[in-house]
Subunit: 289 residues, 2 copies
């Protein structure tokens, strides 16, 4: 079986062909341009590879409500050519195969939950801390949606008493993404994040904010494993700070075997930046049953 | 069919007999004493009524993991006689009927999701704001557990810049329960909450904290309806403040039909303080399938 996978991003599109084991047999990356140009390149690729199903992990916001008239659309994106664009419908007509569809971060969460760091549990979350902060939520083995889909990168946090930075989010004064995504680090200190590697206080503050968000996710979602990905997590000194701060902030209020073994509870991804595209393969497979 | 229901609290036990429609045919309340005294009274009541199944909504922490050796136990409660007590096992042996078991606030959430304010949606949350703050989470029609069960009453919040009160939670400096449960209001102002009814600033601050917590629950769980119960919500002036503050804090970041109709999104319970015991009936019914 040949499974098509598409990680649709605002700046680039990553496409791949995979199999039932999540193995990637071919891969291609193209820049995201107008819908006409880009969609015809993508359709051609999938046709040439005569795929049996397609899975899409898509930049948002998107409509995931199956009963909705605009299911499968990219909705109010600032990327104007793609606003209100029926991406699932267009592929469906052109390719005539089953199509799985979810957010980009849910795709990563599914990839890690199927073949990576969370494959032994039914409830996990995948958090990417990069240009933005995104949270994919797996509950009972399935990506969670609800009213919309979680947008937990924007939860409101308490500012650190010593942090005078205003945050970068145009919507919220003190949300996670605005205080702790890569661009927030860079705006706060006026340097690229990787250039700050040696400055201890940078990663102490970053670890504090990430931990505070994790505490709220733990108390609200009660995941059995938490996976932290994205560019900012390339700073290896962060993980021990996060472990320490999560336990300090929870302060013994809940006690579980997982929290007592926190190095195996809050972990890095296992799929080497393939979690997104592999999650798309799984999205396609789910649609074939 | 005769269904037994037990709302097990640290100070009182409410027992009832109900039917498949959630109707309550009989009800009794007894004080919570030692396990011996109280359990024999409860068992007698259920035996006299020859029940076909039992549902228990229990004070916590409790073990809800079916595979666990201590499934059905009350675990590390400060109520010493009940610590590490096998409540499900004891009833099961004495009554020989199927037993459903969940947290007290999940029982309320199930009650409202089955017969009350959330009966038309599959994903909802029930929040009680009283002596403490508890959150019951319904996902895809079922109470959500995960690693433990949500303890979202203790999520960390940003203090209001004008609020100098330290919070009442012994674990957390700035958690929802410590800043906004009934005892926090009473400690902050030195008066009973109902005596403060006319003081506008009390409910503005309370509404701000409740709204901030709701924003984080909305972004993390994406519920299709939110139900607010508990003693503090008896202050009718709170709901409009909460509606206004949720929209102000979200600041248009997510747009959904539900948020555009917020009076029907964030609502009061419909079951007149019967949501807990009715939820216990449903817990029992679930166990009979
Ligand atoms: N080695 C690094 N150390 C610290 N921060 C980094 C590193 N590499 C990338 N970042 C940060 O992560 C951001 C990019 O995130 P990334 O997850 O790689 O991409 P995206 O979120 O756009 O998919 C950059 O803006 C930068 O702030
Ligand atoms: N009419 C009221 N107005 C404001 N607050 C109230 C009112 N009634 C009760 N409360 C607050 O709610 C708390 C009790 O919460 P309640 O939900 O009734 O019980 P519990 O949480 O113990 O089950 C009290 O401590 C008080 O602070
Ligand atoms: Zn934000
Ligand atoms: Zn607390």
């Amino acid at each position: 079986m040949r499974i098509g996978a598409l990680e649709a991003g605002g700046t680039k599109m990553v496409v791949a062909i995979g199999n039932e084991q999540g193995e990637i047999l071919d891969r291609l990356s193209i820049p995201t341009q107008t819908t006409e140009t880009t969609m015809s390149q993508l359709t051609e690729y999938f046709k040439d590879n005569s795929i049996d199903a397609l899975g899409i992990g898509c930049f948002g916001p998107i409509d995931l409500i199956r009963e909705s008239a605009t299911y499968g659309y990219i909705t109010s994106t600032p990327k104007l050519p793609w606003r209100n664009y029926n991406i699932v419908g267009t592929f469906s007509e052109a390719l005539q195969v089953p199509i799985g569809f979810d957010t980009d971060v849910n795709a990563s969460a599914i990839g890690e939950a199927t073949w990576g760091s969370a494959k032994d549990v039914k409830n996990s979350i995948y958090i990417t801390i990069g240009t933005g902060v995104g949270v994919g939520v797996i509950i009972d083995g399935k990506p969670h949606h609800g009213m919309l889909h979680p947008e937990a990168g924007h939860i409101l946090l308490a500012k650190h008493p010593k942090d005078t930075f205003k945050g970068t989010c145009p919507y919220h004064e003190n949300c996670m993404e605005g205080l702790a995504a890569g661009p927030a680090i860079e705006a706060r200190y006026g340097k690229k994040a990787y250039e700050l590697a040696e400055q201890v206080e940078v990663w102490e503050l970053e670890g504090y904010y990430i931990a505070q968000a994790l505490v709220n996710y733990i108390l609200t979602l009660s995941p059995q494993r938490i996976i932290l990905g994205g560019g900012v997590m390339h700073q290896e000194q962060l993980m021990p700070i996060i472990h320490r701060e999560v336990l300090r902030l929870l302060n013994g209020y809940i006690i579980t075997p997982q929290l007592q073994d926190i190095e195996n509870y809050i972990v890095l991804p296992k799929l080497n930046d393939n979690q997104g595209i592999m999650g798309c393969i799984k999205l396609a497979l789910n649609e074939m049953r």
